[in-house]
Amino acid sequence: MVREFTLPDVGEGLTEAEIVSWLVDSGDAVSEDQPVAEVETDKAVVEVPSPVDGTVREIHAAEGEVVPVGDVIIGFDTDEDDDAGAATTDTTGGADDETVESAVSAVAETDDAPAEHVFASPSARRLARELDIDILTVEGSGPGGRVTDRDVRSHAEGDASTEPEPKPESAVQSATTAVGDEVDELELGGGASTVTEGEADRDRTLAAPATRRLAEEEGVDIDAVSTEQTRDGEAFVAPEQVREHAAGGVEQTAPGAEAETGEAGETPAGGVDLDPLPDAEVQRRETREPYTGVRQTIGEAMEESKYTAPHVTHHDEADVTRLVETRGRLKPEAAERGASLSYMPFVVKAVVAALKQYPILNSQLDEVAGEIRKKHYYNVGIATATDAGLMVPVVKDADRKGMLDIADEMNDLVEKARDRSIAPEEMQGGTFSITNFGAVGGEHATPIINYPETAILGLGEIKEKPRVVDGEVVPRHVLTLSLSIDHRVIDGAEAGQFTNTVKRYLEEPELLLLE
């Protein structure tokens, strides 16, 4: 039988993912759990395993394509029985069938809200049942695509949106061919609805606030919008009618008007330089890349941090001459034990020691609860540049680990981050972060806090510089430090004291033995 396989939720709360590469081709034999594709979520690249034993029948998504969770990405032929009964007894198969079905009905809707959810008032829903219409198939004209009573009615009368509105015409006809009773009827139906010029002139109009706002934006007098709808005997105007009116009244037949306003709706107000189809000239002058995946996640994290936490950055320098000596001495020792010892484990240890003295830098502000949460555990994030962008793997419980363990773990995590095999959990739960911007050169920076943490320590490049010791200018190894803090919870004085403590441990690394 054929098994269609949908993109599973490969990470928490994921809604879409990019197919990075296919590891199989059509016709390939696969076994259950064999990786068939690599997909990039907003956090990492993960492998998608085959759900079955069988052969690949068809691949539905191209490499580089961004696919919503739940979309069919690949089909398999399996050796299982091909009769219809088997499909229903196979629970996963059944579920997949459903997914496919719901995906189809979601497409039938105007927006891509999940299919079961109906945005329509209870009265409209009841009307639909009365008229024996599946409300999910009705196109909504209200704000956001909300289905109104009128939408349901016009759906029942045949797809009104594909034909010019018949109502005004027939009203004119009956008004001209008949007198007497018909006139009464017209009046009952609401005088405004029969104004053929498409201009009404009421004193009062009912409309939702969003509709009024739209009218204002379009420069339309809502009392002048013609409508046949009434609520409690008063004229009621829907957004679609405002748009029609703005587009030139009822002469514009519905489909034309809709197509136009549809487009107009997509162009942001005052949309400068966002022309959807760059011509050849524009393409030559700039390259456009989608802002998605890891890049977008980084961007959003930075935005949230910088717009939430008022940052202050404290700069200082440490004379790490002795640290350089110490590390130089320990390095071969560490190598013998199979570890590669950089300066980072020393910094991690110095930071943890200082955090214990200034716990406010190892905290989080819980705005909702109105509480500052000081953490008694020390999970240190190490900002890492990767080809895909910045990632921050976390060394958990750094206070309870030895220098070499930290070195090992860090090297391991950093490598995983670089080759994108890192698991989302390995980048979560940090309480304080360190960024080694000096790795690419540079003295000072203004690091952005890894929100909701409240502080981040930036390290410059260790350089030999002339410094005055005991009245003499001598060459010393100098490490510059840039500490950014969330000034909502941490004050400058605390930032300074913390930095002084870190400095002390880095200048006299043997102090770390006491920790």
Binding site: A113, A120, R126, G142, P143, G144, A208, A210, E304, G370
Partner: protein, 474 residues
């Protein structure tokens, strides 16, 4: 047929006169159907007699006493004495007024009332055993039957309810004196409502809960606010512990609890209240005689029209599944009555609101952010802390928040979580918005009265639009 049986026929037979059953019966009768309502105990069911109404009455009593005694910062000094018997008789008066009202309404709408316990005899007939021994029984023939037999408290093994040492919620609502100390097993909504009530009336309350939060069915930050306030009232929480046994200890009880790891603890108190959930009443109805098969948990599965998998038999309220709430029971009752009358009704509620009458109250409706994500929306969230509400401050109730969840693309409201004063009332506005398919802009542009708590709903909505005035937008 048993000797002494008399047989009558009815178009619609409703079993159980709780908020599900009596509403179904009244609506069916309104629609011109010949309707019979059978109740074995008291009109109004659990809700009116030993649930929603009596519990809210006691909560009001406890609040009144507590607030009067704790108003010194406002310059008000009082030391109210609580006469529990007096409080109980006031509560009973309220209950009687309402249950009497239900009975009158049923009669006025032409519902035939039958007192007794109903049991399905065969397809199309129900036997009703009247009151006590020797009072006889009768057989009723029906065209349509609506099962609305509600639910009863779940017993923890070893904790048989005796009304003296081991209390169910029903017993806890009928105490004629305030216990000096009370162990409450279960920190769900019933456990938390009663713990708060008795803490305010002066009991030393110890709560034991297997999970790790108060109101564990809600989001973590919701339960946290309620727990914090309860702790301020002196309630002591022991999470991660399940009640395993009890023994008499002097005049009171000694309750033993066990953690998952097998560690035990004991708590001494006057009595222990067990509130660990409720189970549907479907085991005493002779369902096998009509071929109805309840689910493993005892619920009856129904379709969008409230019909079970047996033609002509419907189920509403607690027996028809979660959420087990009175307003859900009533809403279902109305739908089923209209379906039987061939009106175009169906259970198409987009959301069912939910309230917990703790201090502060909790009101939720629709989806949480996580649920919205799971459902495939791209949710946007807006929040307003109660301490930024002028009205909340003047009520001295500034704990909590209003949070709204909407679809980022369309602005449609999807849900709300409210913790704070009158959350049970505030949630109604969001319920209406969801049901109407209103957008953030619709609610945000609706002018709200100042100074009221409802402004917090508007502000949360505006916060979701990054346009809140009284909080920082993010």
């Amino acid at each position: 047929m048993v000797v002494g049986d008399i047989s009558t026929g009815t178009e619609v037979l409703v079993i159980g006169a709780g908020p599900g059953g009596y509403v179904a019966a009244i609506r069916a009768a309104q629609l011109g159907l010949d309707t019979t309502l059978v109740e074995r105990d008291a009109y109004g069911g659990v809700c009116l007699n030993r649930g929603c109404i009596p519990s809210k009455a006691l909560i009001t009593g406890a609040d009144t006493a507590h607030e009067a005694a704790a108003a010194e910062e406002m310059g008000i000094h009082a030391d109210p004495a609580v006469d529990m018997a007096g409080l109980q008789s006031w509560k009973d008066g309220v209950v009687d007024q309402l249950t009497g009202g239900v009975e009158k309404l049923c009669k006025a709408n032409g519902v035939n009332l039958v007192e007794g316990t109903a049991e399905f005899a065969s397809e199309g007939t129900v036997r009703v055993a009247h009151g006590g021994e020797g009072q006889g029984s009768e057989t009723l023939e029906y065209e349509h039957a609506i099962i609305a037999t509600g639910s009863r408290p779940i017993e923890v093994p070893g904790f048989a309810f005796d009304g003296e040492h081991v209390l169910s919620s029903k017993h806890a609502l009928d105490l004629d004196s305030v216990p000096e100390s009370l162990v409450v097993v279960g920190a769900g909504y019933i456990g938390m409502e009663l713990s708060t009530t008795y803490a305010k009336l002066g009991s030393d309350v110890t709560v034991v809960e297997m999970l790790h939060a108060a109101l564990p069915a809600y989001e973590e930050d919701v339960g946290r606010v309620v727990r914090k306030r309860a702790e301020e009232l002196g309630v002591e929480f022991n999470f991660g512990e399940g009640a395993s046994e009890w023994e008499p200890q002097g005049d009171g009880v000694r309750v033993t609890t066990e953690t998952e790891g097998g560690e035990t603890a004991t708590y001494d108190a006057d009595t222990v209240l067990v509130a660990v959930g409720r189970q549907p009443v479907t085991d005493t109805l002779g369902l096998e005689n009509v071929g109805l098969d309840p689910t493993e948990r005892g619920f009856l599965d129904t379709d969008d029209y409230g019909e079970t998998n047996v033609d002509g038999i419907y189920a509403v309220g607690d027996v028809a599944g979660e959420p087990m709430l009175a307003h859900k029971a009533s809403a279902e009752g109305e739908v089923v009555a209209e379906v039987i009358a061939e009106e175009p009704a169906a259970m198409d509620f987009q959301s069912i609101p939910n309230a917990v009458f703790t201090d502060p109250e909790v009101g939720t409706v629709g989806m949480t952010e996580a649920e919205a994500e799971e459902a495939g929306f791209d949710p946007t969230v807006g929040q307003m802390p109660m301490h930024a509400s002028g009205r909340a401050l003047t009520l001295r109730e500034s704990e909590g928040f209003v949070r709204v969840v909407a679809d980022a693309d369309t602005g449609f409201l999807l849900g709300a979580q409210i913790v704070g004063p009158e959350a049970s009332e505030l949630i109604a506005e969001v319920g209406l918005a969801i049901e109407m398919g209103a957008t953030l802009e619709d609610v945000g542009s609706t002018v709200h009265t100042h100074p009221t708590l409802s402004e917090a709903v508007m502000e949360a909505v505006k916060n979701a639009e990054d346009a809140a005035i009284h909080t920082l937008n993010r």
